[in-house]
Each structure stands twice: as C-alpha cells, then as structure tokens.
Amino acid sequence: MENTVSADTYVDVMLRVNGCARRLRLDSRVTLLDALRDELDLTGTKKGCDQGACGACTVLLDGKRVLSCLTLAAQCEGREVTSIEGLATDGRLHPVQEAFIRHDGFQCGYCTPGQIMSAVALLQEGRAGSDEEIREFMSGNLCRCGAYPNIVAAIREVAGRGSE
C-alpha cells in the first residue's frame, strides 16, 4: 500500500469482536481480515488466497458466515464479529471443534479455522441433512490436504446423525 494517505482516507471503526467492543482507527482499505490479524492480534482467522476463493478467512458477521478478506473493516461498524477465538466458552471447546479433533478433520490445519466457522454456520442454517448437503454447503472452504471425508464426518456427528 502507498504510505501517502491523507486524513480523509482513515476511518474510525467500532467493532464488536467475540463480545468485546474494539475501537480502531484504520486506513479505509483495511479488510476485516487484516484488522483482526494485524490490529487485534487475533491470528486464528487465516489469510489463504486473500481473494474470496478459499474460505480460510471465514468469520461470522451478525451470526452469518462471510469472507473477511472481501469485507472492509469499516463496513462492520457496530456489527458483531465472531472469529475462531470466540467459539470456546469457559475454556471448553465448541462441539464442532471437539468433533474436528475426534475425527481428525485436518492435516496441516491452515484451513481449519475457516472450516470450523463455516461448519458452525452450516449447522445453524440446518444444512446438514445429508452428507451430500454438507459437502455442497461446505464447498466455499477448500482444504488442499484433502481432509474432506473427516470434515464431513465431524459435521455429521454434531448434527446428530452419528456415523450413518
């Protein structure tokens, strides 16, 4: 980025991240992804393609899954952001996190935060009716290690369909 920015290319933003109000003064070009990682030190959200193609940067915005790499931080003023760091409560992992561990739903782990955020949203959306439906509605999250079968198994388990 160029360094010669004038005052009117900065924005003041208040984000609610994992339940905490965070006030930031940012270059207007800063994405939600970069604000989380570089300004708030929440590096659980990963930068994969940084172009809306891989899903590694998936977070929940007002409860809905979105790509933080294609969202300006400024657009999130006053909105509720949930990142992977916000899933565990009182030191207990979210059931989807536990299921990913149990089913070995990752290899290198880089896509995993995005996979888990997407899976949490998918379950809320009621899109886990069949393995086919899970695969279709997880298609925005790529895993180059190819952990897909175990990811589907983890989601299926949390959806209550066991190992059918």
Partner: protein
C-alpha cells in the same frame, strides 16, 4: 492500490447525489466483486467508495403476481424466500448454484446484476491489451488462451463473460430494474439493461454514472408452469458455469403453450434465447423440437480455439434442461 475515502451512506438521495457529483466515486454493496477488483487486482481505482449497505433497500414483497426485491437483499435471503421457491423455483436453483454460502451472505441482488463483465485478462493489470480497461488497446483474450469466455455478443474487441447465474432466470422472466438518479427514477427491462460490448467494452449497461439500482421486479410464472436451471461446470460446486440454461415451460396436451429460455456461461450479457423461444412456442414438446430450439439459440457464435467447445456444450445443456423441465424423455 490507491487510497480511497470511505463514506457510509444512510439516505438514498444523498448517496445518489454524492456519487453522481464525483466521477471518481463508486458504490460499495456486498463488495464481493468490487473489493476484489479494487483491493486485490487493482484494476479499479475509485477515489471514494460509498457504502450503501445501510440504505433501506432490503425488503421482499409480493403483490399482483410480481415479486419486488430490494436491491440490498442478499442472494441467500432471496433463495430462502417461500414465494421464490413456489412460483419461480429456477431462480432459487440459480442462486444456490452461484458462488459459496459465505459469498451469498454478502452479495446483494443489485450487485449481482452489476458484477463486472470480466475475464482473467481484464483482472490482470500487467496485460496491456484490454479494451474494457483501456478502450482502444485491443483484446489479449482473443489471441491468448481462453476458456471461461463468451461466445455470444462477443467480437474481436472483447470476449469477457457476464458470469451471473441469477441473471439467467431473471432475464428469462422479463425482470424489471428500478433505478434512482439525481433527476428522478426510471425503470428498464433487464433484457434491455445490458449493452453488447461492440467497440466500447468498457460500457456494460445503460446506467449513467451515479444511478443506483433500488429494486428489481420479478414477474412470477403462471401457475402450472414448470421451470429449471442447469449449470455445467468443471467441478461439482463453487465454480463458474461453462454453460448454463434457465427454462420455463407451460405445456398443455403435449404442446408448448409458453416458453422462456435464457443462457449463462456463454454471453457477454445474460442471454435471452428469443429465437429458440419462437421455435418452442406452439410446437410439440419433443426432443426434435428441443434440438431445433438449441441450434437456434446458439445462432451465430464468435468463438476462439479455447471456446469453440461451448457451442455444442450449450446446445446439449439446452436440450437437457428442456427434457428435464418438460418431463419428456430423451
């Protein structure tokens, strides 16, 4: 990437006035194409982005056999609408065939219509020959490797594709686009909204700078009409179409009473297949009719080595969807 000023609009008239008065200003809605082209590819360089996502353009209402959809309704919201599922199910099919769940939560209906007609060469600023980016510079895609490109409406000036799935059934349905400008509002049928690239591929539609889509109006299909959307692509999900087709048929006693057909993945704009519809109207619902319609739909394609396969693929896509929708066995 040059710096830009970010402005959050809370009033339609003020937003329209702001952008209309500033040639360097652009609207920002879901951002899924705009921010990609501004932040990542660096091929658009607005001096000011006016965020319209808080404008009151969100509802979906239903009256007089027409669905009125606010421009800021998201793709997921429209896909979840019960009237869409009931009366224009191929709109839902096309919505859910597009992008990914994350992108569909972000992308708006107005933005979907206005996603740039684009190709890899347009997105690569190191490619100098692009009539869309730099009018008069030529078209690298016509001479270079091409695949995800248009064959209808295309010419040696530009073969970039309008990649929307949603717009394919919308153009088949004679959807109307409501537009707000500084001097008032106007309405344009979607079939007349896009312009062919001709010698000015940088001009993609009839909007003047600063005009804002506020709503679209979708005429619903008569009860008894069956519809479907078929998307053919390189992988099973989360991929642009190589070819696609949206069809709606009303068939009585084996005769096609009313037919609507449009194509995706092949056009420089969402492509209404009017010649094919004329063949279908009043004809018996048979494989022979469907094949004749498919050939008419592809008419006079402009192909390069990498896109020649799309002619037969598109014909087969049309024949398949007509069989599926009609229930006539192939």
């Amino acid at each position: 990437m040059r710096p830009f000023e970010y402005v959050r609009a809370d009033d339609v008239a003020a937003a329209v006035a702001l952008v209309s008065a500033d040639p360097q200003a652009e609207y920002l809605a879901g951002g899924t194409t705009e921010l990609d082209l501004v932040l990542k590819d660096g091929v658009l360089e607005p001096g000011r982005l006016v965020d319209i996502t808080r404008l009151p353009l969100r509802g979906i209402t239903f009256a007089e056999d027409t669905l009125r959809v606010g421009a800021l309704v998201t793709m997921e919201e429209l896909a979840a609408d019960p009237t869409v599922s009931e009366r224009v199910p191929f709109v839902r099919e096309a919505l859910l065939a597009g992008a990914s769940p994350q992108l569909r939560n972000m992308a708006t209906i107005g933005g979907n219509l206005l996603q740039r007609t684009r190709c890899r060469y347009f997105r690569d600023s190191t490619v100098t020959a692009c009539n869309k980016r730099t009018p008069g510079s030529g078209c690298a895609a016509v001479r270079g490797p091409a695949r995800m490109h248009a064959i209808l409406g295309a010419s040696e000036h530009c073969i970039a594709l309008h990649a929307s799935d949603l717009c394919v059934p919308l153009v088949a349905l004679d959807t109307v686009v409501d537009i707000q400008g500084v001097d008032g509002s106007r309405s344009v049928p979607l079939t007349q909204f896009y312009v062919l690239p001709g010698e000015r591929p940088d001009i993609e539609n009839v909007l003047q700078h600063g005009e804002l889509i506020t709503r679209i109006r979708i005429p619903l299909l008569p009860v008894g009409t069956r519809s479907g959307y078929l998307k053919v692509r390189d992988r099973a999900s989360y991929e642009f179409a190589l070819t696609s087709a949206a069809a709606a048929l009303l068939i009585e006693d084996g005769t096609i009473v009313r037919a609507r057909l449009a194509l995706g993945g092949v056009g420089t704009k969402p492509w209404r297949a009017s010649e094919a519809e004329e063949i279908l109207h009043g004809a018996p619902a048979t494989g022979r009719t469907f094949r004749a319609a498919a050939q008419a739909a592809l008419g006079d394609p402009f192909t390069v080595a990498g896109t020649a396969f799309k002619v037969e693929l598109a014909e087969r896509t049309i024949v398949r969807i007509l069989h599926t929708v009609s229930g006539v066995r192939s």
